[in-house]
Amino acid sequence: MIDATDEELMIRIGNGDRVAFGELVRRHLNRAVAVAQRVTGSRGDAEEIAQEAFLRVWTKAPSWRSAEGEYAGARFTTWLHRVVVNLGIDRKRRPAMSALEAAGDPVDPAESALRSLEKAQLSRRVAAAVAALPERQRAALALCFYEGLSNREAADILALSPGAVESLLVRARRSLREALAGVAAEFLEVSP
């Protein structure tokens, strides 16, 4: 592991340092894929978006500090997540090439088959409810609730005020409460 900030790594990547690029990819890949998956509702799309986002990191690294326009002066994580969210929203707006994946996420073999199935079903229902949210509510929820970014960071990424992000979160959670009202009781039985 390289002991350097993201911004220091970007400077090295701008000079063609592949090791620094590998470090940055491994540092941020999980979160980039997770955010993209919540925005698009598809793991396959999320992995493609992560590939595209990191390709941009590599190719634009020589000039990212001096980039003009929406990325000027941004922190690396803000820059990356903005790319991921925008790619995710663009992908989601396209005519549906792949619906929300029916297969769902892999189940843990250590759990009993029935319990794993219940948890997988629950996970899919929550994912479907999240996927049905309007795109900006979905993005705000992915960034703040699921990925733990502050509302100020999310505001920078979404080019909104912190107050507007808070409003998106309130509306998102209210919609999810309504959509998942019937699921709550099942969940309490399933959860340990």
């Binding site: 063609g16 894929v33 000039s63 609730f145 502050s150 409003s167």
Partner: protein, 148 residues
């Protein structure tokens, strides 16, 4: 913090104080310490958070990271075109190229000096009298004529 604000806080960010805006945690904690209603709202939000977190996403695996790195680094990086500063005009200060100009400049200086020197000397004008500009002007006015 008022209860309505606390209600909105957890309606937006959920029950985990780590997700709350830093400036509001202390006031929210103070409210929780004194309000049964706030604690009930927090417990309800905690259960809903757990439901939402049932949709956990598996971490990206190493093969994906390796594929991303391999694919990206096979592409050339975009380097901004280097704008060359305007080239300074090369000045050739060699004597071999400058002597005609220097000679011409010296000749002009000598000629100018000679002309100036002779004009300034009293009696240099024919008749032995220096021309007084005031006389000329007076003469023109007296004749009613034009100086032009």
């Amino acid at each position: 913090m008022m209860i309505w604000r606390f209600r909105r806080l957890i309606a937006a960010y959920g029950a985990d104080p780590a997700r709350w805006p830093p400036g509001q945690r202390v006031r929210a904690d103070a409210l929780l310490a004194r309000s049964v209603k706030a604690r009930a709202l927090l417990a309800e939000a905690r259960a809903f958070d757990a439901l939402l977190l049932a949709d956990a996403k598996p971490p990206a695996d190493e093969p994906l990271a390796a594929a991303i790195i391999a694919r990206a680094t096979a592409v050339p990086q975009e380097r901004a075109p280097v704008i060359a500063p305007p080239r300074a005009v090369a000045l050739d200060w060699s004597l071999a190229r400058l002597w005609p100009q220097a000679l011409g400049l010296a000749a002009a200086a000598v000629l100018g000096f000679v002309i100036g020197w002779t004009d300034l000397l009293p009696g240099s004008v024919a008749g032995g009298d220096a021309i007084d500009l005031a006389d000329v002007l007076d003469a023109g006015i007296d004749d009613g004529g034009s100086l032009l």
